[in-house]
Amino acid sequence: MAKIPVQFRLNGSDRAAFVDAPETLLNTLRRGLGDFAPKYGCGQGACGVCTVLIDGEPHLSCLTLSVACEGKRIETASGMADGPDLHPLQAQFMEHFAAQCGFCTPGMLTVARALLDRNPNPTRDEVIEAISGNICRCTGYEPIVAAILAAAGSPGMRRSEGGRHA
């Protein structure tokens, strides 16, 4: 079957890919464009490890058609750091030892980033709500919640590209 061209912005750069019609954004990002930060965890929309921002809002890339992303702004955990400078969320995840196996971390960072873009000073309950679609099997969630709360309101918080436009 003929491949279909798709163009979108990925972490601030214009990217293009040829995709199969029913191909998921997750597969295009990983196998097509080599961005391995979004992970495959279930393909069912129930674990959150594939979460990316589309126009600033968290979406599950395993359930999103790549052909539906034409012209969108897509951001993954790969694009959070500014060169060697970590995003405050990344710094606080380190500070709070909020990762063990690290597999859920890109997705957690992504939903946390969307939360702080919209709500720079969330309550604990709002943080919990924001990560509720993301499974972590290692940490018991507490270090992740603590890290996000610590990052909230940090100086140097950089908004996602989509978040700036939202």
Binding site: D20, P22, R30, R31, G34, D35, F36, A37, K39, Y40, G41, C42, G43, Q44, A46, C47, V49, T76, A77, S78, M80, A81, L86, Q90, A91, F93, M94, F97, A99, Q100, C101, G102, F103, C104, T105, P106, L109, I135, C136, R137, C138
Partner: protein, 583 residues
């Protein structure tokens, strides 16, 4: 929140260390937070093929025929693998350490023994094409009876689950249908106990549920080698298993892994590596075999369920004098690692307590469900649940506070354990004391003064008692299931040579370095063990004092070679949920 109690056992430590004990940042953390950490699936290959397996929809069935012709012709399909394509299609994981018989095929041969058992593998250009081709495989099954309950499976006439172990149990020492533990005379002690409590416990199966599912990518390297990106929890375990199944020398496999998205025991079984390597061998292309989440949930091998019966003899003053445990590991259809868990469980019994008479019978039973495997706390988690709920019941029966009850029965340095080795380096008492203090759970002053360092190994606590043996559960002789004692092993008997020192060796220039074991050494020599009076729990302020003082417990004398029928002591209280109502 974590708090260190450096004051406890301080004289056994030298805290003057450079980096040990420091909360330094993890080496892998920067990679985790930037999304740069590479797991097995985060590697790009040109021409990557995808492998999916067709699984049995039946728990037990004979395979009448398999027709893969339509699937083989489907768009994008490169190869369809069947049982005959697997070079060594029978394996057991622990064959690498010489434990157990090969009992499990990579692809089912003429029967399936659990729902989800792989039967056919399809290798295609894309996952979607492999999934579409799966639907075209025609397998004609003849369903057969299945058994799902461990105790039903062990009854004569139960459906045969695993032809290699046709009576549905793992064979221990080529003699018994279970692993035994015998220490003292449990039956006699139970008969002299003030109370006997017997209860049944059931641990559920558990799915490991790592966020990364099982998977691997195998690709041809140069010189006839294959590189394998693997999620394995034991890299050489997976390498050895794959090498055996695909019949390759181990040095033709180059396994890369070590960075795994959670395991918890669920990535020990080499679920994908052998077929991925075989796929790369037959196609000459990189082949990726990743379980989807539904496969991981249903067929990714869980922690096996365990059924545990505990029967305890308790004195009114709270001392435990006998414990018998009968348990059943649910291995599912094949052995995997369950055989080992039973041994580990046996060594763990009776829990962290000193009890003068202990026996256990740990069974591994096969049922028509997905084979179970190791999981965090393997062999221990379930029995700890059972033991500690039982301890709660015993404390209540003895009208004691649960903390005081633990302190009374806790094992201490020097106590003889039922597997006939002395306990050392114990600290249960201190954990109970500290947890009680932090939780503001009052314990007696005398309880607070107890120590793991003292009082253990005194008198019978440090001895191997005369032990009653039996021949129950001999392989092939169902009539022995309920047979009686056969002989009594004299006190002090030991038949297994004490363990050798750990081997710890580095060498250079071809010369062996001094075989020094860098044992941790106490900063100050430990004080000579004291022999304080045996612990007597103080009357608890929140427990009614029991009425009549019972006669002190006397350890039973060495019984005659053939034990007399045991008599239930007059007035003994018996509780039982074993034959009680089903919850």
């Amino acid at each position: 929140m974590l708090e260190m109690r450096k004051d406890l056992f301080a004289d056994e430590r030298d805290d003057n260390l450079n980096v040990i004990g420091k909360g330094l940042q993890r080496q892998d953390m920067p990679g985790h937070v930037t999304g740069l950490t590479r797991y097995f699936d985060d590697h790009a290959f040109e021409g990557l093929l995808h492998l999916k397996v067709v699984r049995s929809p039946h728990a037990s069935a004979r395979i009448r025929s398999i027709d893969v012709a339509a699937a083989a012709r489907a768009p994008g399909v490169r190869r369809v693998l069947r049982a005959a394509d697997v070079p060594v299609n029978r394996n057991t994981l622990l064959s690498l350490i010489g434990f157990g018989k090969d009992d499990e095929p990579s692809l089912a041969v003429d029967k399936v023994h659990y729902k989800g058992e792989p039967v056919v593998a399809i290798i295609a250009d894309s996952e979607a094409q492999a999934l579409a081709a799966k639907k075209l495989v025609r397998i004609d099954y003849e369903p057969m009876p299945a058994v799902f309950d461990v105790e039903e499976a062990l009854k004569p006439g139960a459906p045969v689950v695993n032809e290699t172990y046709s009576a549905n149990y793992f064979e221990y020492h080529e003699r018994f249908d279970h692993q035994k533990l015998r220490f003292g005379d449990v039956e006699r002690a139970l008969a002299s106990a003030d109370m006997v409590l017997e209860h049944r416990y059931q641990m559920s199966p558990i799915e490991h549920a790592p966020t990364e599912t099982n998977g691997s990518i195998a690709a041809p390297e140069q010189n006839g080698r294959f590189v394998v990106h693997s999620c394995a929890q034991g890299l050489f375990f997976a390498l050895g298993t794959a090498a055996k199944i695909v019949a390759l020398e181990s040095n033709r496999l180059h396994f890369i892994g070590g960075t795994v998205g959670g395991g918890f025991g669920g990535k020990v079984d080499s679920l994908t590596e052998p077929l991925a390597v075989l796929g790369a061998m037959v196609t000459g292309k990189p082949v990726r075999f990743v379980l989807d989440r539904e496969e991981e949930m249903l067929y990714g091998s869980p922690r096996g369920a365990e059924r545990i019966y505990i029967k305890d003899g308790l004195m009114r003053d709270g001392r435990l004098i006998a414990r018998h445990i009968r348990s059943y590991f649910d291995a599912g259809a094949y052995t995997r690692l369950s055989s080992y868990a039973a041994i580990k469980c046996t060594a763990h019994l009776p829990g962290p307590y000193w009890i003068p008479n202990v026996a256990s019978d740990v069974h591994v039973a096969y049922t028509n469900r997905c084979p179970s495997t190791a999981m965090r706390g393997f062999g221990i988690t379930a029995v700890d649940f059972a033991l500690e709920v039982q301890m709660d019941r015993l404390a209540e029966a003895a009208q004691m506070d649960p903390m005081e009850f633990r302190l009374l029965n806790a094992y201490r340095d020097g106590d003889m354990k039922p597997h006939r080795r002395k306990a050392s380096n114990t600290a249960l008492i201190e954990c109970v004391q500290v947890a009680a203090e932090k939780a503001n759970w009052p314990i007696s002053e005398q309880g607070k003064r107890q120590s793991s360092l003292t009082g253990g190994g005194v008198g019978e606590r440090g001895q191997i008692p005369a032990t009653v043996l039996d021949a129950r559960g001999q392989i092939g002789r169902p009539e022995t299931r309920n047979s009686g004692p056969t002989q009594t092993l004299p006190a002090g008997s030991s038949r297994i040579a004490p363990s050798k020192q750990p081997v710890m060796e580095g060498a250079r220039d071809g010369r062996a370095a001094p075989a020094q074991v860098p044992r941790y050494e106490a900063a100050r020599p430990a004080a000579a063990p004291l022999s304080p009076p045996p612990y007597q729990p103080a009357p608890s302020p929140y427990q009614p004092v029991t009425g009549q003082q019972p006669p002190p417990y006397q350890p039973p004398p060495a019984p005659p070679a053939t034990a007399a029928p045991v008599q239930t002591q007059h007035g003994a209280v018996r509780f039982s949920s074993v034959f009680g109502r089903r919850r």
